[in-house]
C-alpha cells in the first residue's frame, strides 16, 4: 500500500491504538518536562557551589536524593540539567540535518543527471565512515563546542536524509501532477517545494524521528568521549566518564543514575520513532 492511500485520520487512529506509541511518548514527555522544570524540582545549583567539595561522594540521602558526585555537586540537579543539554542539542541537530537533507534530496531527485551522480558519490564516500568518527574528526579540527556538536551531527545526517528524500522524489517526479505543474509553466522551485514536498512528508517525518534517536545516542557518546562541547555544562555522558572509575569502590550513584537516564530516554524516543514508522509503512 502506498502512503497516499492511507488517510491522515486512519493513521492517527492507528497511532493512538499503539501501545509502543503511548509508552515511548510518556517516557519522552516526562524527560521534556524534567528538562524544562528541572530548576523547580531541586533546590541545588547544578553547577555546584564553593562549599560542595566538603560533601563529596555522599551516598543518596533525604538531603541529596541521588547523592553527590566527586566534586560534591547534587547528582539529581545535574541529571535534570543534563536532560536540558541533550534535549536541546539532539533535536536541533536533527532539525538542521532534516532541512538540509530534504532540500538536497529534492534537488538531486528532481533534476537527476550529473548533479545527482556527483552528489551521490560524495555522499557515499561520506557514509562509509561511522558518524561518531566523522564527528570526532571535525570537532578535533574546529575545537569541541556545543554549536560545533549540533552542526556536525546535522551535517552527517544531511546525506542520510537526502538519500531517503531523493528516492521518494524520484518516484513522485514521474507522476501526472508534476507533469501538469510543468505544463502550467511552474518553475522548478515551485514544483519541488510546493508540489512534491507535501507528498514526501511521510518518509521525512519517519526519518526525523529515527534520526532523533541516533542524535541522542551520538551526542551522549561524544560527551562521554570528551567531545561534547562546553565541559562546564552538566551532561550525562560526561558525568559517566568522570565517575565510572569510582564504581570499583562501590560508589555507584554518580554513574548509575545518569546511565539509567540515558537508557530510559533513548528507549523512549526510539519506541516513539518505531510506532510512527510503523504507521507510515503499513
Amino acid at each position: 500500500m502506498t502512503i497516499a492511500s492511507v488517510t491522515r485520520t486512519q493513521r492517527r487512529n492507528q497511532l493512538l491504538r499503539s501501545a509502543t506509541f503511548w509508552v515511548g511518548g510518556t517516557i519522552t514527555l516526562t524527560w521534556i518536562v524534567f528538562a524544562i522544570f528541572g530548576d523547580f524540582i531541586t533546590q541545588y545549583e547544578p553547577a555546584g557551589s564553593p562549599t560542595d567539595i566538603l560533601n563529596r561522594l555522599a551516598p543518596p540521602s533525604s538531603e541529596h536524593l541521588m547523592g553527590t558526585d566527586s566534586l560534591g555537586r547534587d547528582v539529581l540537579s545535574r541529571l535534570l540539567a543534563g536532560a536540558r543539554q541533550v534535549l536541546i542539542i539532539a533535536p536541533l541537530a536533527t532539525l538542521i540535518g532534516t532541512m538540509a537533507g530534504t532540500a538536497l534530496g529534492l534537488v538531486t531527485g528532481y533534476f537527476g543527471g550529473w548533479i545527482d551522480e556527483v552528489t551521490s558519490r560524495i555522499l557515499d564516500a561520506f557514509l562509509s565512515i561511522p558518524l561518531i568518527i566523522t564527528a570526532m574528526l571535525v570537532l578535533a579540527a574546529v575545537g569541541p563546542t556545543t554549536v560545533g556538536v549540533i552542526l556536525v551531527i546535522g551535517l552527517v545526517f544531511t546525506p542520510i536524509i537526502a538519500r531517503t528524500v531523493r528516492a521518494s522524489t524520484l518516484s513522485e517526479a514521474r507522476l501526472d501532477y508534476v507533469t501538469a505543474a510543468k505544463l502550467r509553466g511552474e518553475g522548478p522551485l515551485h514544483i519541488m517545494f510546493i508540489e512534491i514536498l507535501p507528498n514526501v512528508m511521510g518518509p521525512i517525518i519517519v526519518e526525523f524521528t529515527v534520526r532523533l534517536g541516533y542524535a541522542i545516542f551520538t551526542t551522549l557518546a561524544l560527551s562521554f568521549l570528551g567531545f561534547g562541547g562546553d565541559p562546564s555544562v552538566p551532561d550525562w555522558g560526561q558525568s559517566i566518564s568522570d565517575h565510572y572509575v569510582f564504581l570499583s569502590g562501590d560508589i555507584w550513584w554518580p554513574t548509575l543514575f545518569p546511565a539509567l537516564a540515558i537508557a530510559s530516554l533513548v528507549v523512549g524516543v526510539n519506541l516513539l520513532a518505531d510506532a510512527i514508522a510503523q504507521v507510515f509503512e503499513t
Binding site: 568518527i133 574528526l137 579540527a141 555522558g237 570499583s248 526510539n270
Partner: protein
Amino acid sequence: MLRFLLRRLGLALVSLWLLSVLVFTGTNLLPGNVGRRILGPFATQESVDLLNARLGTDRPLLTQYFDYIGGVLTGDLGTSVSFARPVTELLGTALANSTKLALLAFVIVVPLSILGGVIAALKRGTLVDRSITVFGLSATVIPEFVSGIVVIVVFAITLGWLPGGAQAPAGSGLFQQIRYLILPAIPLVLVLFGYIARITRAGMIDALDADYTRTAILKGLPRRTVIRRHVMRNALLPTIAVVATQVGYLFGGLVVVEVLFNYQGVGRLIFDAAQKADFPLLAGGVLVIGVIFQVATLVADTMYGVLNPRVRLGAES
C-alpha cells in the same frame, strides 16, 4: 556477474578517492590552522609558525594534497605527531587488536541474532515476537558505554567472573585473550543484535507470505522442509548484505568500547589522535576504516551474487 563486480570495484575506488579529499579538506581547511590546533591557544605565534614549517603545513594546500595522496598510494601515511612513529606502524598493531575484538563480537552476534529473527518471525504477533523485537530495539539504541558499564559492574566487580579491562597480559594464549575480550564484546553484540534480528525477521516474514511458500505448503511438504528449503534460503540472503554493512558501524562502536575498556585498538587510536589533534594519525585511521568498509560491502555484494542463482547465472536484472 564479472561486469557487475568490476563496476562495484570502480565505484568503491571512486568513493575512497573522494573520502581522501574529504578527510584532507576536513583536517586542513577548517578554521584554526594545524599548528595552532596542536599547540593550543597559549603558544606563541613563533612556535606555531615553526611547527607548521616542520610539518609542512605552511605550504599551498594543493601541494600538500598531492604530497599526501602520493604518500597514501605508496603506502606511506605520514608520521604521527603525538607518538612520533609512522602512522602505518601504529595502525597495523591497533588493527590486529581491533580485528580480534570485532571478530569475537561477530561470531557471537551473527548466529544469535539470526536465530532471534527467525524465531520472532515464526511466532509472529505472539508475546515471544514482541519480547524479541522490543528487547532488540532497546539493546540497539542504548549507547555502548552504558551497557558496557552495566556489564563491568555485574560481571567484573560484583561477580568477579571476568576481567574488567580488555588488554590481556603480554604473551597470553588464545583462550586467555578471549576471556579478556568477552566483556568488551557484549556492548557491540547488544547494539548489533537488534538490527540484524530485525532485518532477518522482516526477510523471513516476506518469504513466509510469498506465493511460493503457500504453493510449497499446499503441495503437502512438511512445515520443517518448507521453512528450511523455501523460506530460510530466500530470507537470509538480504541478511548477509546487512551484516556486512554493519562492519562500518562496528568501528564507530569500537571507539567507545576501546576507550571504556582501555584496549589498544583502532578506535582507541583515533580517539587519542582526535584528542591530541594528531591529524596525520587521524586522517590515516579514517582512511583505513573507509577501506575496510568498502572491502566489506564489496565482499557482501560478491557473496550475495554467488549465493543467489539469479545473479550467479547471469540473469540481467
